[in-house]
């Protein structure tokens, strides 16, 4: 069950990343026919991120303690001391960015250039931050792995 929760949070995180990237590309080429898709994708990205956040939060509060002990005893304590500590707080900023995306994307981006620029910057920032979260997650998982290999 522990592993399923962990995999599910990665799955929904990647879904959020892809949806934000899709919104960015659609906004780059904004046309009247794209607007409904942009709105749906921005809502999908926010829903995926909220799901990932809630699943990851549950896992972090309930299961992470044992992983943390393994990491801190292993050769990569930085996987917790820096990467997990920053990830658990930066992810809140990512959650707010993608939650903001449907609000900014509510305007007609094909005619409203200001709103289009806002959506481009917010979606682009969300993609970069989501990639960072994926990378940090990989380092944390590796921290557990090298900790277990050492024991």
């Amino acid at each position: 069950m522990n592993e399923v929760i962990l995999m599910a949070h990665v799955f929904f995180g990647v879904a959020c990343l892809l949806a934000s990237l899709w919104v960015f590309v659609e906004a780059l080429n904004a046309a009247p026919g794209h607007q409904a898709r942009i709105r749906k994708l921005s809502c999908l990205g926010a829903a995926a991120m909220w799901t990932a956040f809630l699943i990851a939060g549950y896992w972090y509060v309930v299961y992470y303690k044992s992983d943390k002990a393994i990491i801190l005893k292993g050769p990569w304590p930085v996987a917790h001391n820096f990467f997990m500590e920053t990830k658990e707080h930066l992810v809140i900023i990512l959650l707010m960015l993608v939650s903001y995306l449907p609000i900014a994307a509510a305007a007609d981006l094909s005619v409203n250039k200001e709103a289009r620029r806002v959506v481009l910057w917010v979606a682009g920032s969300a993609v970069i931050l989501a990639l960072m979260m994926e990378g940090e997650g990989a380092i944390i998982a590796m921290g557990v792995k090298v900790g277990l290999l050492q024991t």
């Binding site: 509060v61 707080h89 930066l90 509510a106 200001e114 931050l129």
Partner: protein
């Protein structure tokens, strides 16, 4: 006031996002440096991270709704460029406080 094509919620929640991002970073430093703050946050919900997330997300929602009601319900009027600058500055500042703290401050 400047002319803008942005909706009042786009502006208010954008500014709120910037403020909440900085608050996220400041709260990290506060709870890690002050044990009464950390223990208080743990007591409130059972885990400091749950309290931290709830405080920041509530701040984001409440600030966004309140800022949208300013100027007689018309909200704040700023240009897209200034809003983007505010959002990116807030997100970068929040991120740098968190990274910087765990890199050198902790």
């Amino acid at each position: 006031m400047e002319n803008t094509n942005l909706s009042r919620y786009t502006v208010s929640f954008g500014i709120s996002l910037a403020l909440a991002s900085v608050a996220d970073g400041v709260l990290v430093v506060a709870k890690e440096k002050s044990s009464p703050v950390m223990s208080g946050m743990q007591r409130l919900t059972g885990h400091h991270w749950i309290t931290h997330s709830a405080v920041i997300l509530l701040l984001f929602v409440i600030c966004g709704l309140v800022l949208a009601q300013l100027d007689g319900g018309k909200g704040i009027k700023i240009t897209g460029g200034r809003l983007i600058c505010a959002v990116l500055s807030g997100v970068a500042a929040g991120g740098l406080i968190i990274f910087g703290f765990y890199l050198i401050g902790d």
